[in-house]
Amino acid sequence: MTTALTVDGHAVFATTGGVDFDPARPVVVFLHGAGFDRTTWRLQTRWFAHHGRSVLAVDMPGHGRSGGAPLPGVAAMADWVIRLLDAAGVRKAALVGHSMGGLVALDAAGRHPDRVRALGLCGVAGEMPVHPEMLESAQAGTSKVRELMTFWGLGRAHQIGGMVSPGLWLTRESLAVLERAAPGVIHNDLAACNGYKDAPARAAQVSCPVAFVCGDIDQMTPAAKCKPLAAAIPGSHMTLLKACGHFMMVERPDETLDALKAVA
């Protein structure tokens, strides 16, 4: 099930977890990571939609099936999320983000505390430096960056498999989604992560309930680099998932869902 929204004159493609979107209910907005799209949240969105919340799992501008160009920088993406809430008729929402999407959610909560009722931050660190060769590959549109994002992103155990949802091969799924990204999208997103230095400052501004979800073998945003952020937000809770890499929503979907239920 999808919903028709327009932000900045561009159509936003969003799924609603199989239930019609109703802004009168508590709203949860899901924000994907660099180069990915809404489908990364498929094992969390349907639960929330069927348990009293209204869900928007969005393709950010220029991603997936949404129109427009990818936005330059995390702060611009965060402001877009606020305009998305306006377009959806939502005063306050829980924001759940993965990686880049987590930074976007954090930035939005820090600068627009009156619009964010809770945060779920998966695979987020205070800084997310990106190797120059990955940026070069992303700019050149070669496959190396997609392969490295997949190889480093998926925990080693999940490069062997044993997926909770039967029959799905996550390595290839990650590559397939990244291959669909329009030219320039992955570079835009990685550059946004690389250039964002405001996470500690925004964390200090957050006043809503926050759940951090980390993987113990996450090589892209190691749990150790998440801890200072969690420490900066009084009352926040950090869940460390075992044998889990950077893609906890698909690697450990049930545990990720449980951690998010607590706040969203």
Binding site: R38, L43, R46, H50, M134
Partner: protein, 431 residues
């Protein structure tokens, strides 16, 4: 910066899809011989039925042992996901039923396994799905055969029985230009020799009964999706892009993206049609897959040696093996099947139908039966068995000569195979 080091084929054939059992520590894949799975509580049950969380409900739809097989084949075929079912024919049927309904049309290679041809040419028309068969080498005819209601282009990596190699990139382009996916039956090549998804195909199917198992003891089929075809952009696949009442209005492409086809095939195809693969058979196939690369390397080597032997034998008129320079698709085979063109091929005996019968009767090691891809060498003479009811003219129309024999070369010592073939060829030649 080092490159990504994804696990390679031989490693995946042993490990993909399985973590050691977290409760018992079992290293081998356990056989979960159970019809159903206990829900943790009412809430968990409802969430499973509503696709809110992953997991198993009932073994008609999914099973942990079968799931290991599915992930392993998906990994070896470089797909985003797979669905294992009770036979190759069940896989083909579920794929078609997932993509189209009444009024749908398929463009298929004329060089197909007879069972596939029967399903498409004789059975599916009763349900309103028709097929136009075309020469897989005649791309103009293929293009012209596509109609507005066409929903699938279908072929085999290596055709049956002439060994026609389908030009995957060219045929994929024809399908994609028309906004439809290309599905390839990769049974004869196995994922070790060719990954059609890497050459533009969108869906791969296998009769896992053959090389994937390799032992001839279990029937199964598998579908693998590349996760690449844009169902929504095509606009021809409402089963994947419009709300489905069977799951409370779910839109598979919107919610599952690259997994849309496999999810619909499982949640509708297996749920409603029901050709579930038994966990026991999945286990047998997993045992076979562990040695797939080792076996197929030897199959290819033996088949090439046997083909070379046949070429020089006076009883033989022609050998249809794509690895031979005389085969019309030899150059294409070298490009798409660089490790070899498998071990199933046909040859024509001089002397027609009677020579074929004499040849078969004299063989001792080759088993005369209707299967392929076994570790043991197999043989069949279509004109005296599967196609015995056809006249010479009718046989010619299907590309089968009266003296054509099909071999599935196994893993025996190749000297023994040639020693078995030699007197049989002599008997065929002398009468």
């Amino acid at each position: 910066m080092p490159d990504a080091k994804f696990l390679k084929f031989d490693t995946l054939a042993l490990h993909a899809g399985q973590q050691p059992d977290p409760v018992t520590g079992a290293r081998a894949v356990p056989i979960y011989q159970t019809t159903s799975f206990v829900f943790r509580d009412v809430e968990h049950a409802a969430s499973l039925f509503n696709l809110e969380v992953g997991g198993h409900i009932y073994s008609r739809i999914s099973n942990p042992t079968v799931a290991v097989l599915e992930e392993r084949v998906a990994a070896l075929e470089k797909g985003t996901g797979a669905l294992a079912v009770a036979s190759g024919q069940a896989a083909l049927h579920i794929a078609i039923a997932t993509l189209m309904g009444q009024g749908g049309h398929i463009v298929a290679s004329a060089s197909l396994y007879g069972g596939s041809r029967n399903m498409m040419g004789l059975t599916l028309p009763r349900f309103g799905i028709t097929t136009t068969f075309v020469d897989p080498r005649d791309h103009d005819s293929m293009r012209k055969a596509i109609r507005p209601e066409t929903r699938l282009v279908f072929g085999e990596t290596i055709g049956n029985p002439g060994g026609e190699v389908i030009d995957l990139p060219a045929v994929a382009q024809i399908a994609h230009d028309a906004g439809v996916p290309l599905m390839i039956d990769n049974t004869f090549a196995s994922p070790f020799l060719c990954n059609p998804l890497e050459h533009g195909a969108d869906i791969v199917m296998h009769s896992a009964t053959k090389f994937i198992g390799g032992h001839g003891i279990a029937i199964a089929g598998v579908l693998v999706d590349a996760g690449r075809f844009d169902w929504r952009a095509s606009g021809k696949f409402p089963t994947l892009t419009e709300p489905y009442a069977g799951y409370h209005g779910i839109d598979f492409a919107a919610e599952f993206g690259p997994q849309a086809f496999i999810m619909r095939a499982r949640t509708e195809g297996l749920r409603d049609f029901g050709p579930a693969l038994s966990p026991q058979n999945a286990f047998y196939l997993l045992q076979g897959m562990e040695t797939l690369p080792l076996r197929v390397r030897q199959h290819v080597a033996n088949a090439q040696a046997v083909a070379a032997f046949l070429v020089s034998n006076p009883a033989v008129e022609r050998v249809h093996h794509p690895d031979l320079p005389s085969h019309p698709d030899h150059a294409l085979a070298k490009k798409l099947l660089p490790r070899g063109s498998g071990s199933i091929f046909a040859f024509d005996l001089k002397g027609g139908r009677e020579a074929g019968k004499r040849f078969i009767e004299r063989l001792r090691l080759f088993s005369h039966l209707a299967n392929v891809g076994d570790a043991k060498s197999l043989v069949i003479h279509p004109a005296s068995t599967t196609h015995a009811q056809l006249t010479a003219e009718q046989l010619a129309a299907t590309g089968i000569g009266e003296g054509m024999v099909r071999l599935s070369v196994g893993l025996e010592d190749v000297d023994d195979l040639i020693d078995d073939l030699t007197p049989a060829l002599r008997a065929a030649h002398k009468g």
